[in-house]
């Protein structure tokens, strides 16, 4: 590696004076007469099929994003049917703009909760859609959001579902799960077999299995408990941590399964 001395290439020439910039502007004028580089926005859009795969509108100028426009991070689309209410989107939101609100469809005891997004706060970072284990919360190419009332910036799950139903192209990017993902482990002596984890697990990957009631030695007193223990199916688990948060005895924790 070396240095390159930056020297003026077009040295000032008092005879040419202003001829060079004038000529450059005239050249651009001639090019623009054919077609300027601008895209007439409300009438033409970059995501139009017209620009798919098109390489140039102005001579020599590559424009148009083609299929990769779909990666754009715009308004979210939510598929309410497949949402499992795991809370991961709300956890991962750096701006705290996602609230989990109740939607009809769940059983009365455990209402179904889906994300409601406040676009007044959203920074379109995409962490929520990266976090979504079911791929039901994705970002679409919709970017026109102007509203006249601040309350309209808040998109309820139903409204996000409407965005989903418009079948806008969606980003194909899916993040791979970390290879050395940790599992949720159980601290057996603390468990009272209360079934809370299994009941609230959004993926239903926790089953309560009977465990043998140990024979009591003389003088030993067991805690009053149900003789069941959660068994977590790691391949179905989305690592949302709901079971940890509902566990009354704090007997579930993150760790590496041997």
């Amino acid at each position: 590696m070396s240095e390159v001395e930056a020297k003026p290439k077009a040295n000032e020439n008092p005879i040419l004076f202003v001829a060079r910039p004038m000529a450059t502007a005239a050249r651009q004028f001639a090019r623009s007469l054919v077609r300027p580089s601008t895209i007439v926005y409300p009438f033409e859009r970059l995501e139009d099929p017209k620009f798919r795969g098109q390489v140039a509108v102005a001579p020599g100028k590559p424009i148009g994003l083609g299929e990769v426009w779909d990666n754009y991070r715009g308004v979210h689309a939510l598929n309410i049917e497949t949402c499992i209410s795991c809370n991961l989107c709300a956890f991962s939101c750096p701006d705290l703009c996602i609230d989990m609100v109740t939607v009809p469809g769940g059983d009365p005891k455990h209402p179904k909760k889906c994300p409601q997004i406040d676009y007044g706060k959203c920074s379109y970072c995409g962490f929520c859609s990266d976090a979504c284990p079911e791929g039901c919360l994705t970002m679409t190419t919709r970017y026109e959001l102007s509203v006249t009332k601040r309350a309209d910036m808040v998109y309820s799950p139903q409204r996000l579902n409407e965005v989903f139903r418009t079948r806008l192209p969606m980003s194909p990017i899916r993040l791979a799960r970390p290879a050395n993902e940790d599992s949720i482990l159980l601290d057996p002596p603390l468990c009272i077999g209360c079934n809370a984890c299994s009941r609230d697990c959004p993926t239903e990957c926790i089953t309560m299995l009977d465990i043998p009631k140990p024979e009591a030695k003389p003088g030993e007193k067991f805690p009053k408990r149900i003789w069941k223990e959660p068994v977590i199916n790691d391949s179905d688990c989305v690592r949302c941590g709901t079971c940890i948060s509902v566990c009354p005895k704090e007997c579930l924790f993150w760790g590496t399964r041997k």
């Binding site: 202003v18 910039p21 004038m22």
Partner: protein, 376 residues
């Protein structure tokens, strides 16, 4: 046939109208309606109204022309939505400005603040009134139209300074100061360059100057004077690269920082009115006015209003040159403008006077023009 001037047209119009009206109405009123004094007075008013309408329309069209041209220079389209190709965009903008609240900064001097834009506008309109547009369109026979035009042209810095000083803003004040300071730097070269034209044409009357160019346009023999005049006009019109008084990079908007609404519209309109007049002066002095070279087929000059058509075409092309300059050149600094004016343009204009005198003396003018003079 006597040349049909705009004044005679309006005079005929008014007199025929009033005569018909006076014949229909019983005598005391009817006779008064037919009196020549009333007819003269009214026809002057009609003449002024037509002038005003024509100048305003042209100014607005000029703004559109600049926006479209500049758009293409900048690889974009310019105004394009209101009206065909955005032709009505400037009317919409004007309407918006008209409806806006005019406000005045606290502790601004009301008298200067409001009279400044008005006087700026009025002097620019007067300018348009005295220029001949074609053989059939002029305000009548003033012997020294060229001098009058240049004199009124150079009023502007005064009103700019008045409005700048009275708006009680440091940026405005600096813009006004610049405007006043740089005035001499370009007024002197402009006048000297005009002297060269006057020497060759032998008259201060613009109509005469145009008729002198029927055989050869003056830009060829007087190219040095043309360069000086165009550069000086750029400064006179306060356009890039010489728009120092309103240099928006450092002075926000210079002397019209504090103006909004209709008052700003006045400044804007007057600026373009002056740009129009500047282009017209270039056409009149150097590009043969409404005349065409003699080798052009007669059909090109014989259709109705041909003179006006060719004249306006030339004017808009000259203004296109100004737009081109704006698209390609950065702004100079105050001291550099003064230096350009005193060190470059004044010697050049003196040279052009010398050349003009030489050309007149040795009578070699026709050979430098576009076509040989029929007299030679």
């Amino acid at each position: 046939m006597a040349p049909l001037t705009l004044y005679t047209v309006s005079n005929d119009l008014v007199s025929s109208l009033l005569t018909a009206l006076g014949n229909a109405i019983p005598n005391p009123v009817g006779a008064w309606l037919k009196s020549p004094d009333l007819i003269t007075g009214l026809s002057v008013l009609v003449f002024a109204a037509i002038l005003l309408a024509a100048s305003m329309l042209n100014t607005i069209l000029l703004i559109w022309w600049e926006r479209k041209l500049l758009g293409r220079f900048m690889d974009r389209r310019g105004a394009m939505h209101v009206g065909y190709a955005g032709l009505l965009q400037n009317f919409a903008d004007g309407l918006k400005l008209f409806r806006k609240n005019t406000f005045q900064p606290r502790e601004a001097d009301s008298l200067g603040f409001y009279t400044g834009p008005a006087a700026y506008m009025v002097t620019s309109l007067i300018l348009f009134g005295i220029l001949p547009i074609s053989s059939g369109w002029n305000s009548g026979a003033l012997p020294l139209t060229l001098l009058l035009a240049l004199a009124i042209f150079s009023f502007a810095p005064l009103f700019i300074f008045i409005s700048a000083w009275s708006s009680n803003n440091k940026y405005s004040l600096m813009g006004g100061m610049r405007s006043a300071a740089q005035m001499i730097a370009y007024e002197v070269p402009i006048l000297l360059a005009v002297v060269a034209v006057v020497i060759v044409a032998g008259s201060f009357d613009l109509t005469t100057i145009v008729y002198e160019q029927q055989n050869y346009w003056f830009w060829g023999p007087l190219v040095v004077a043309l360069i000086v005049f165009v550069a000086g006009m750029l400064a006179e019109m306060e356009r890039i690269p010489f728009d120092l008084p309103e240099a928006e990079a450092e002075l926000v908007e210079g002397w019209n920082t504090e103006y909004g609404g209709m008052l700003f519209a006045f400044f804007m309109l007057a600026d373009y009115l002056r740009a129009l007049v500047g282009s017209i002066l270039v056409v009149l002095l150097f590009l043969g006015g409404w005349t065409l070279p003699t080798w052009v087929p007669a059909a090109a000059t014989s259709f109705p209003l041909a003179g006006i058509f060719w004249f306006m075409l030339k004017t808009y092309l000259v203004f296109g040159l100004f737009v081109w300059v704006r698209a390609a050149l950065p702004r100079v600094r105050t001291d550099q403008l003064l230096r350009i004016g005193w060190n470059r343009m004044i010697p050049l204009s003196l040279l052009s006077i010398f050349l003009a005198a030489l050309l007149v003396t040795v009578k070699c003018l026709p050979f430098l023009g576009c076509v040989p003079s029929p007299g030679s």
